[in-house]
């Protein structure tokens, strides 16, 4: 009896094989038709999408880096340009200032010279006028004194001699 029952553990049963085959084929068909198709397909499309998005992201990153480096380059250039312009402006300003200064100095000198010349001329004129005035005054005084004694000619000669005898200045 033990033997018989133990045999049943390893003896394939015809009915079970029959039903099992049918059941498994139906099971396989149902899963094949309605189960695995959508699942594996969806997973594959998702994987593709993930892969493509990663690739896109990497491309975008590379592009961004390129743009960044370009921007950096452009900025550096702009800075250099700005510095150059500033330097030039400063230089030209300096030049301008020096030019202006020289011009001013010239003008001042000129004005000085003019003023001196004017002063000289005025001085000469004033001296001359003074001399004439003094002469006239002397003549008048002398003429008053010696109106009758002396003629005009003699008196003038006398005064002139006197003036010449006066120390210069």
């Amino acid at each position: 009896m033990t033997e018989v029952i133990a045999q049943s553990l390893v003896q394939p049963d015809v009915g079970l094989i029959f039903w099992k085959t049918i059941a498994f084929l139906i099971f396989l068909f149902l899963l094949y038709r309605y189960g695995w198709g959508p699942i594996t397909e969806a997973m594959e499309s998702r994987e593709e999408e993930i892969e493509s998005s990663i690739q896109r992201a990497e491309e975008a990153l590379a592009e961004a880096k390129e743009i960044q480096s370009e921007n950096k380059k452009a900025r550096r250039e702009a800075e250099r340009e700005a510095q150059r312009i500033l330097r030039e402006a400063r230089e030209s300003a300096e030049e301008l200032r020096e030019e202006e200064m020289a011009k001013t100095r010239d003008r001042i000198q000129q004005m000085q010279e003019q003023a001196q010349a004017e002063i000289e001329r005025e001085k000469q004129a004033a001296l001359q006028e003074l001399r004439d005035e003094v002469a006239d005054l002397a003549i008048e005084a002398a003429s008053k004194v010696v109106r009758d004694d002396l003629d005009g000619e003699r008196q003038r000669k006398l005064v002139n001699d006197f003036i010449d005898d006066l120390p210069k200045n």
């Binding site: 009896m1 133990a6 553990l9 394939p12 015809v14 009915g15 149902l30 695995w36 198709g37 959508p38």
Partner: protein
């Protein structure tokens, strides 16, 4: 009880007695215990250990109920006509009178009486002997017993669960969850991990080129069915459909048939004509080896899964049965002591079985993929056009395949060694 019968029983219950560690003592006291009637070593081995592991035409919900399953008999009547007899249960089948019961008796072989009269049947129903006896037709004979059995029910249950899970998940994927957005929830993520694993680690590496797409549905179905059936083996009152050789046999035959249907020309040429670069006397030797090898590896595929699952459940039932055996042999006190150890071991074995459930499902699937991969593999055709020297890489390829096969076999042996030990 003759010593021969004891010897037979010892052979069957070798696990039990080995675990007892006192084979000699057990054998000695068996003769006395067997006479006591009610609880004998025989009945423990048959009912507790083997009875739970074997297939049957009933669902055992002891101590609540025993549900008998429909019987379907294809029979040839006395006048030679073929009929199909359908009954709701074994009881109904026996009450009808067309069929008689041949109960398994304690005696040695011998010719058995066929029970058909109702009084004897009532007695058999009471002791549930009708569920373990043979059914014979009173006139004519049974051609095929296509009755629904518990292992079929468990198999259908496993299929139903797998179908429910994946048809629901498929709808989800169709809606776009998992396609355009991230998979959502524990179930979807967990199943997806396994589906992706089967696809990337099992199907793709073993099947040449893009051909894996053709076989992936089969591999996935087989994997999830076996996994679910194995796990059902851990559920109380349920059992593993995969612990039945018929079920694993059907699965292995499916792998075999797929290999035959989709086999490449190169594979058939190699199988029936031998390696192309070998001299003909060697081919004569190699062809039968190749043929036998092909059949044997599919047979081994069935037996590996069956033996692992059956071994696991036998160990568990044996550990539980040990408590009753101790009761018979040494009395109640010893049985209480044993129950503590038994239950501890049972929990350990159950955990091991959970591991084995996954491992065996994986092993069956990867070997199926490998066998299918071998069948559908095509060699470079330019090499065949060239001379014999150019064919060296071809044989290398098949050499690599058999290496891979050996490696997988080794891995399987390593992994599964603890379970049936």
């Amino acid at each position: 009880m003759s010593s021969l019968a004891v010897g037979c029983r010892l052979r069957v219950a070798v696990l039990v007695l080995a675990l007892l560690g006192a084979g000699a003592v057990g054998g000695g006291s068996t003769a006395h215990a067997a006479d006591d009637g009610e609880l004998t070593l025989d009945s423990i081995v048959n009912n507790v250990i083997v009875g739970h592991a074997e297939d049957g035409n009933y669902l055992n919900f002891d101590p609540f109920a025993t549900v008998e399953l429909p019987r379907i008999m294809v029979a040839r009547t006395a006048d030679g006509a073929l009929t199909v007899d359908l009954y709701g249960s074994t009881k109904g089948l026996l009450k009808d009178g067309t069929y008689g019961l041949v109960p398994h008796s304690e005696g040695e072989g011998g010719h058995e009486e066929v029970i058909t009269e109702s009084s004897a049947l009532q007695e058999a129903f009471a002791s549930k002997a009708h569920l373990h006896g043979d059914i014979v037709r009173t006139s004519g004979h049974v051609v095929a017993d296509l009755s629904i059995t518990r292992h079929l029910i468990f198999g259908l249950l496993a299929m139903g669960i797998v179908l429910a899970i994946f048809l629901v998940l498929a709808q989800r994927y169709k809606r776009g969850v998992g396609r355009t957005e991230a998979p959502h929830g524990v179930l979807q993520n967990m199943m997806e991990v396994m589906v992706v694993f089967i696809r990337d680690e099992v199907a793709k590496p073993n099947i040449q080129g893009e051909k894996w797409r053709t076989f992936l549905p089969y591999l996935l179905s087989a994997f999830f069915f076996i996994l679910m059936a194995n796990i059902l083996g851990l559920v109380p009152y349920a059992g593993a459909a995969t612990s039945n050789i018929a079920v694993t046999g059907v699965l292995a035959v499916m792998t075999f048939v797929i290999g035959l249907l989709y086999g490449s020309k190169d594979h058939y040429k190699h199988m029936f004509l031998g390696p192309p670069d070998a001299p003909w006397p060697i081919r004569v030797i190699l062809v039968p080896i190749e043929l036998i090898g092909t059949v044997m590896r599919h047979l081994a595929l069935a037996i590996r899964l069956f033996a692992n699952m059956m071994g696991g459940s036998l160990i568990i039932f044996s550990l539980i049965g040990l408590v009753f055996i101790m009761n018979v042999l040494f009395g109640e006190a010893m049985a209480f002591g044993t129950s503590i150890i038994s239950i501890g071991f049972t929990v350990f074995i159950l955990l091991l079985k959970l591991l084995v459930a996954f491992i065996q499902a994986y092993v069956f699937t990867i070997l199926s993929a490998l066998f299918i991969g071998i069948s559908v593999e095509e060699h470079e055709h330019e090499e065949h056009a060239d001379d014999a020297h150019a064919e060296a890489p071809t044989s290398q390829t098949s050499g690599a395949l058999s290496d891979r096969l050996d490696a997988v076999d080794d891995a399987v042996d390593d992994v599964t060694e603890p379970a049936p030990a």
